[in-house]
Amino acid sequence: MTEILSSQVVSGLATGCVYALIALGFVLIFKATDVVNFAQGEFVMVSGFISYTLLIGLGIHYGLVLLATIVLSGVMGVVLERVVVRPIMDAPIFSIVIATIGASIVLRSSAGILYGYDVLPLPTIFSKDPIRVGFVQFTAMDAGVIGFSLVIMVALYLFFKLTRTGTAMRATAQSQTAARLMGVSVTRIFSLTWAISAAIGGVAGVLIAPIIYLDPNLGFIGVKAFAGAILGGFGSIPGAIVGGMLLGVIENLSGYFFNAGIKQVSTYILLILVLVIRPAGLFGAAPIRKV
């Protein structure tokens, strides 16, 4: 029982880490620009196809592919911001959010046109064979996903805490007006935020696509991650991480203790419960307010 339960928690954590990465992308963009980017899940999908093309189509080494995918995802984020968001930056936030939904549909359809709607297997360096540590049983894939996600999260933390660009980004999230006056180019910060969010989404894509297979609908995983971000308190970075991870574990355990139907809705039941008890989410401060 404990053996099975513990492996359920580990594999839930692995999925949860991926949710957390995507949720982070949502929160970063929201904090910096007040925009909820509904194309966040599409970063995951597109990066999956990018790495598929590089790996299978061009036969490039896995490590290089990983790096290239992250960079190209970042570039995609910048392009999306320039093309979709910036031209309507003065429009009401709601219009911008709708524009991101439009972008996600375009990206999904483009992937469908280019690659078809069939599921594709994406290779990975992590083995899916079981490993045993004590009574916990998991795979190298699980461990790899968790490890890699944690590395990305720590790197992000250090970046925001220690670097001047990171500090400038935090400052911009607090007050765009004041940041501008400090000589911070807010447009540059916006681009950078989109780049980072997309790059994290890219990491999530490379990690999750080999597990749940690659197809143009992969981006719908963003919906779950979004729920994770709200669970943690939308706008809170630790909230996004904890919310995402919690979601992965809860999903697994509810599937184990109940059935597939409950598993499917457990996310939303949990979300509603948390929002009733703590409307701002687990880590959310005061109600969200526009600076």
């Binding site: 099975i4 492996s7 359920q8 594999s11 839930g12 999925t15 469908g112 078809g116 709607y117 069939d118 599921v119 594709l120 297997p121 899916k128 064979d129 079981p130 045993r132 049983q137 998991f138 795979t139 894939m141 699980d142 749940i212 297979y213 197809d215 143009p216 609908n217 999903e251 697994n252 355990l253 509810s254 599937g255 184990y256 059935n259 597939a260 139907g261 598993k263 499917q264």
Partner: protein, 392 residues
């Protein structure tokens, strides 16, 4: 003047009757048939290939002048494996595109959703791409073709219990009309024939992508074999997640899993996976299969030959045979009668189709076991006549 008006009136009336008598979708030069398929969703691999297989047959027939001078035009819409969308598409096909018949409609839950509507409109539902037992006994408008999931599961259960001497059998099933067909039939077969019961019944939802909790439950049940009432995405993922927790039962399932995609996705994790097939493998010998391979190479060169497109191909081939038999006077009734006239007919691959009476199933209810070996589906047993297995 008055007489003239009467004559004109009569002519209009007669004309009206004549128009009413002609079937939707049939003109002197063309027959329009419709299909609701999943082209972009969870089982798109099936949808895209079934369409390609049907198109290959129709393209060849049309190139040779059509059937009794009529070219066949196939209109296919994407229902994304979602029942509500399937209904919308069916209405569009029947009411706007005026199709003659629905053919190869993909998916059990999706086809069940359009079943009553087609019945009301008296549009035949020919050879839907679902082998649920419902299509063998739902009246003249619903014409199933091959051995049902229920009967296939009967074969699976008998094989596991009798030949493999496995008594701990679990069921992993899609929680809808598709998964339940085989799941319930297996349960009935275990109980009535072998005095056994599933040691675990674990469900999943269409388009689910994570089965770790299902894997845990199956492992805990201690089942030595798991019957997977699933499609091609789930068996690889389930096998992987079972292997991840050190659990290696026999995985076996009905025909929808017997697809190249299953192997492409699962790699080494699906080695040893077993399935039931209800028509020959695309690589088997036979004149009909030679024709199939030639047509696919000509009309769908980008798609490799696979059980999925062969499935659509054989449906279209039998339908063309029925239209040939119906003759120049093509109506929905005449084509349904023509299908019933097919008895002991072998298109050229060693298996015979036969229809008649209430039993709308074709192909003499044949089935055989296959397994994945070295990354390929290979046959394990010989063709056999499957027994009728009820769901109760």
């Amino acid at each position: 003047m008055k007489r003239l008006l009467t004559i004109v009136g009569l002519l209009v009336l007669l004309g009206g009757v004549a128009v009413c008598a002609a079937e939707d979708g049939v003109t002197d030069k063309e027959v329009v048939i419709g299909a609701g398929l999943d082209l972009t969703g969870a089982v798109a691999n099936w949808g895209v290939n079934i369409k390609a297989g049907m198109d290959a047959v129709f393209s060849r027939v049309n190139a040779a002048g059509g059937v009794h001078g009529r070219k066949i035009r196939l209109i296919a819409y994407d229902h994304v494996y979602q029942p509500p969308k399937a209904v919308t598409n069916a209405k569009r096909l029947v009411e706007r595109d005026k199709i003659f018949v629905m053919m190869g409609h993909l998916g059990t839950p999706t086809t069940k959703a359009v079943m009553d509507y087609l019945q009301d409109k008296q549009v035949p539902n020919i050879f839907p791409a679902t082998l649920a037992s419902i299509w063998t006994n739902s009246g003249k408008y619903h014409v199933g073709d091959l051995a049902t999931y229920a009967d296939q599961t009967g074969l699976i259960v008998d094989y596991l219990v009798k030949e493999r001497k496995i008594r701990k059998i679990a069921s992993f099933y899609q929680d809808d009309e598709y998964g339940l067909d085989g799941h319930l039939a297996g349960k009935a077969r275990l109980k009535h024939t072998h005095d056994l019961a599933y040691v675990a019944e674990v469900d999943y939802k269409r388009a689910d992508i994570d089965f770790s909790s299902q894997a845990a439950k199956l492992k805990e049940s201690g089942a030595d074999a798991v019957i997977v009432q699933a499609v091609y995405r789930e068996p690889p993922r389930l096998a992987e997640q079972c292997h991840a927790i050190g659990y290696n039962p026999v995985f076996i399932g009905p025909s929808p899993i017997v697809v190249a995609k299953t192997i492409e996705l699962g790699g080494k994790h699906v080695e040893g996976l077993m399935g039931v097939e209800v028509y020959p493998l695309p690589t088997d010998p036979g004149a009909f299969l030679d024709q199939y391979r030639a047509d696919m190479a000509k009309y769908a060169p980008s798609l490799p030959i696979d059980t999925t497109n062969l499935y659509g191909y054989q449906k279209a081939a039998v339908f063309v045979e029925a239209m040939q038999r119906a003759g120049r006077n093509l109506t929905r009734d005449s084509v349904l009668k023509a299908i019933e006239s097919i008895k002991d007919w072998d298109p050229g691959w060693g298996l015979k189709y036969g229809y008649g009476g209430d039993n709308r199933r074709g192909m003499s209810n044949a089935g055989r076991l296959v397994t994945v070996k070295d990354g390929k589906w290979i046959k394990v047993g010989d063709w056999m006549e499957l027994k009728e297995v009820g769901r109760k």
